[in-house]
């Protein structure tokens, strides 16, 4: 057994704790912090899988950009001690079927996937990844950036209208 295997299981188990905390915490800011911890944990999982680029991207994008923006938004809107949220409220009834559906889908995907141990390359080359992204998957990639662009323009438009009025 390679030394990274127990670490992989350990880290994977640890990631679940902040994930649960994120849902369970009643303080919005603490939830966000738990979410960040969860992201970092996922990055650590990637490292144990020798997917360093993925880990770095996870840190860069999810911790460095997305969570910070979420925190930014929370802090700007609710200045005082980050509003305590109710644990049980009406949304939980809608969340129950949604969660169940997600569980079913994930179960089907996991059940149908074939895991072949050791088939993953030890050192996934960044060059391979890049050529895949820009050749084979160029269209979905560009489509994703288009969606993001639309979102940015929309956000700018909303902010502009806010200031004008």
């Amino acid at each position: 057994m390679h030394f990274s295997t127990p670490i992989f299981y350990l880290v994977s188990a640890l990631v679940i704790i902040p994930a649960v905390l994120m849902v369970a915490m009643r303080n919005l800011i603490y939830s966000a912090i738990a979410m960040i911890a969860c992201f970092i944990g996922v990055a650590a999982v990637f490292v144990t899988l020798n997917a360093e680029l993925l880990a770095a991207s996870q840190l860069l994008i999810y911790v460095g950009a997305i969570s910070i923006l979420i925190l930014f938004a929370i802090m700007l809107t609710r200045r005082r001690s980050g509003a305590i949220c109710l644990f049980f409220h009406r949304q939980s009834w809608a969340a129950l079927p949604a969660g169940a559906a997600l569980a079913v889908v994930l179960g089907i995907v996991l059940g149908s996937a074939r895991f072949s141990a050791g088939s993953a390359p030890k050192n996934p080359s960044t060059a391979n990844l890049a050529s895949l992204l820009f050749n084979q998957y160029a269209f979905p990639f560009e489509l994703a950036s288009l969606v993001l662009l639309v979102a940015i323009v929309g956000a700018v438009l909303l902010a502009m209208r806010e200031r004008r009025s």
């Binding site: 390679h2 030394f3 800011i29 912090i33 960040i36 360093e52 680029l53 770095a56 991207s57 840190l59 860069l60 911790v63 460095g64 950009a65 969570s67 910070i68 925190l71 930014f72 802090m75 700007l76 200045r79 001690s81 980050g82 050192n123 960044t126």
Partner: protein, 370 residues
Amino acid sequence: MSWGLSFVIHLIAALVIGLAVPALSALVFPFAVRRLSGFMSDRLGPNRVGPAGFFQPIADFLKLLLKEDVAPLKADRRLFRLAPAIAFITPVLAVSVIPFSKGFTIANLNVGLVFIVAFSSFTVLGILLAGWASHNKYSLLGGLRSVAQMVSYEIPMILNIIIIAMLVGSLSLNDVVGAQGKIWFIAVQPLAFLVFIVAGMAELNRTPFDLPEAESELVAGYLTEYSGMRFGFFYGLVEWGNASIWALTGATLFLGGWRGPFAGNPGWLILKVLVLAFAVIWFFATFPRLQVDQLMNFAWKVLIPLSLVNLGVTGLLIILLPNSFLPPVAAFSWASVITIILLMGPVLRKALLRKRLKLNPGTELGTSQS
């Protein structure tokens, strides 16, 4: 040797070096700043403790350690205490990918460049949390400013790191140093170096981009409520640790890393780091501070387009001349740097004067001229 033992040894070595770099920079840099900027502004600086005041940082460290650690009553205590620790992750982890000499890197990752950038997000997070948890408006404003600034300036920073990665053809810092055997990249890409320095000043919250802790406006920004060793963490370890990381990265990317005459060794790297750190201090003693909107405009309207053009042209040259792209890239880069230096001042001045004229088109009034 079992994998467990090797793992433990590795971990300990990583921690020792990871902690030593910020700790040493927290001891050396504040002292250097005070003495050098003192010299620049015609005064002495601390010169009482030890020879030439050399033990002053130690005395300061002891003072901070013994000071009462005060947290505001209405602060979010847990986050208030957590924030310095989160921010401290950056310098500790980022050291691990820096090559200190031939074959001596704590973690020889093949994507080390991306990791250095990725780790810097912890500082942003720490500062944001510190600003919010203090329950102080100055802190909040400082935290928000710092996040906006660091996120914005990360983009030109990454773009310029990509340029170097393109020149080398690898994201590993060891390869970057290896590629600089004949010529340092500062000679090939002075434009990227320039942008790297400017963006680095903003990432480090140093003058002229020290808005998050602008003492004349925001008291001390996100640091306002911190005292004792928690303040020491932010001010000494995080800030100057990050400065070290920035200088180490810059030395590795542009100044040939540990390379130097008489066999490359970490000594050369340290020397280059000190040279870059001197630039930080020099800026501190010379420049006033920018304004928030100017800061953002500068990042989005000047630095990012400039970096994108540089990236595009460099990429094009690499594709067109796959074997001998260094001379044309260098020619383009040097030409742009010279143009910028010659043109930026007059253009900027003209724009500012035009703006002023628009605000007040000169009023004529019956005045008794002497």
